[in-house]
């Protein structure tokens, strides 16, 4: 008997909202998160792309100062989202009055694409300019990609394992697959899952630009992220974090938790095709979609909504369409698509986590968020994209998917069901 898994808490800090409610309100309205960067390093290093989608609320405004000094920005953002989700779920921490969790049955699955890139590069500058004595003793725990998972496990008193999926832009959804595995194996009752990224740093900005992956619409950042549009020219770098409390239905019901949706299934596949380019036939992505539906015990006709990966690159959006078409066939016209990166930008390792939060909200509120900047839809991708105003999903039992794909040929799909 497979254990049924449910989502009971949500958290997010993003370019269009520092909490889930603000994110959701803005995602329904259609709110561009990208702005011209005001950092002196943009001009200093002559960056070809001068805009990005920075978080709406600086983590230093939320966290205590000694905490921020010991955490890379990526861990800071992850901590903010994780605490929101934990509190939203009504869960407590060891030492809290009335703490009644078994800490050995509480786990963390927190992903990132890059990890502590600011710390790594700042520390190298410190070493070169001021010598080894000035290199902070916290450098290693701050730069390591598992830094967020470790720090969050400490904060929540989670002793059931703290894992870190690292699969570039698929990381956030892979974190949910890891959580699902831990829970279905019976290794934990509650998992804080999510992903974080803080890579709006001159080096990744220069590197992604060098790869011709970023939009160059420096004169109009708000319209730069335009998935499925004929004039799309690249993704918009974003930062932020998303977190979801996943627990067994039994555990959630026993404590009377509010249940937003079921985490019905998930799947991971790899292309083995090219290190950065997606497989044009999208065989790996198609397999991930089929296996996620199988894992969820869902029929094609159950699916009403997909939060697509859709980064707004010329080459990336089409293979995802090909995968959806090959799996859904004619039913695809009954599936509404939201490309929320049009609003948030691309949060890399946090993208799948924030988009899973939005997918869960869509099912719970029965409304799909909008895609902005879709002025001339590419006729090669005839999808039913939600634009203008949110789409009513109706009150029947239904399944929604969240897709994330990453450099390295990683494909990750999570399947959620209304509860």
């Amino acid at each position: 008997m497979t254990r049924r898994l449910v989502i009971t808490g949500l958290g997010a800090t993003t370019p269009i909202g520092g909490d889930v409610q603000t994110l959701w309100t803005n995602a329904l309205a259609g709110t561009p998160g990208a702005k011209t960067l005001e950092h002196d390093w943009v001009e200093k290093y002559q960056l070809p792309v001068t805009f990005a989608a920075e978080v709406a609320i600086e983590p230093a405004e939320v966290l205590a100062r000694p905490e921020t000094r010991r955490m890379d920005r990526s861990t800071q953002l992850g901590m903010v989202a994780a605490r929101q989700a934990w509190d939203d779920a009504g869960l407590s921490r060891p030492g809290d009055e009335g703490y009644d969790l078994d800490p050995e049955r509480v786990a963390v699955s927190f992903a990132t694409g890059i990890g502590g890139v600011w710390t790594l590069i700042d520390s190298w500058d410190t070493l070169r300019e001021r010598g080894p004595r000035r290199v902070m003793p916290m450098t290693v725990p701050m730069l390591m990609p598992n830094g967020a998972a470790g720090a969050i496990s400490l904060d929540l008193g989670a002793q059931g394992g703290a894992r870190t999926a690292v699969s570039a832009c698929a990381s956030g959804v892979e974190a949910l697959d890891v959580a699902l595995e831990m829970l279905r194996k019976g290794d934990a009752d509650v998992v804080l899952a999510g992903g974080t990224e803080a890579a709006i740093h001159p080096l990744p900005m220069a590197a992604f630009a060098s790869l011709q992956a970023l939009s160059k619409r420096n004169d109009d950042p708000a319209s730069a992220s335009r998935p499925y549009d004929l004039d799309r020219d690249g993704f918009v770098m974003g930062e932020g974090a998303g977190a979801l409390v996943v627990e067994t239905e039994e555990h959630a019901k026993a404590r009377g938790a509010t249940i937003y949706a079921e985490l019905a299934g998930s799947a991971i596949t790899s292309d083995a095709h090219h290190i950065t380019a997606p497989d044009p036939e999208a065989l790996g992505a198609s397999r991930a979609l089929r296996r996620a539906l199988e894992s969820a015990g869902a029929e094609l006709s159950d699916v009403t909504h997909v939060n697509a990966h859709a980064t707004s690159t010329p080459v990336g959006d089409k293979p995802e369409y090909a995968a959806l078409k090959s799996v859904f066939g004619d039913h695809l016209e009954n599936v509404c698509i939201s490309a929320t990166k049009s609003q948030t930008g691309h949060l890399l390792g946090a993208a799948g986590a924030v988009e899973s939060v939005l997918t869960v909200k869509a099912l719970h509120e029965r409304r799909a968020p909008v895609t902005i900047n879709l002025d001339n839809q590419d006729p090669e991708m005839p999808l039913d994209v939600v634009t203008g105003s949110p789409r009513d999903l109706g009150d029947k039992q239904q399944v929604a998917l969240c897709n994330s794909f990453g450099f390295g040929g990683h494909n990750a799909v999570a399947a959620f069901r209304t509860y």
């Binding site: 205590a64 100062r65 000694p66 000094r69 010991r70 004595r133 000035r134 902070m136 003793p137 916290m138």
Partner: protein, 81 residues
């Protein structure tokens, strides 16, 4: 050159920056570990910042002897001497 009151005030600022403790709590009779709850990692950061602020060397093997804030003030005053 700073006198002991100035060293104490400077140390208190460094401790505040690292830990968030109020500067008034950083008094000479306070133990770094027992009273101020400063762990070895924060202590190393405080030491390195104090070296820079007061232009002294505090060898790593000396750090374990600096049990209280007063010990650190005395060491820095002597090292400056």
């Amino acid at each position: 050159m700073a006198d002991k009151n100035e060293i104490l005030a400077g140390l208190a600022e460094i401790v505040n920056e690292e830990t968030g403790l109020e500067v008034e709590e950083v008094q000479t009779d306070k133990s770094f570990t027992e009273d101020l709850d400063i762990d070895s990692i924060s202590m190393m950061t405080i030491v390195v910042n104090a070296e820079e602020k007061f232009d002294v060397k505090i060898p790593d093997e000396e750090v374990k002897n600096l049990a209280t804030v007063g010990d650190a003030v005395d060491f820095i005053a002597n090292a400056q001497g």
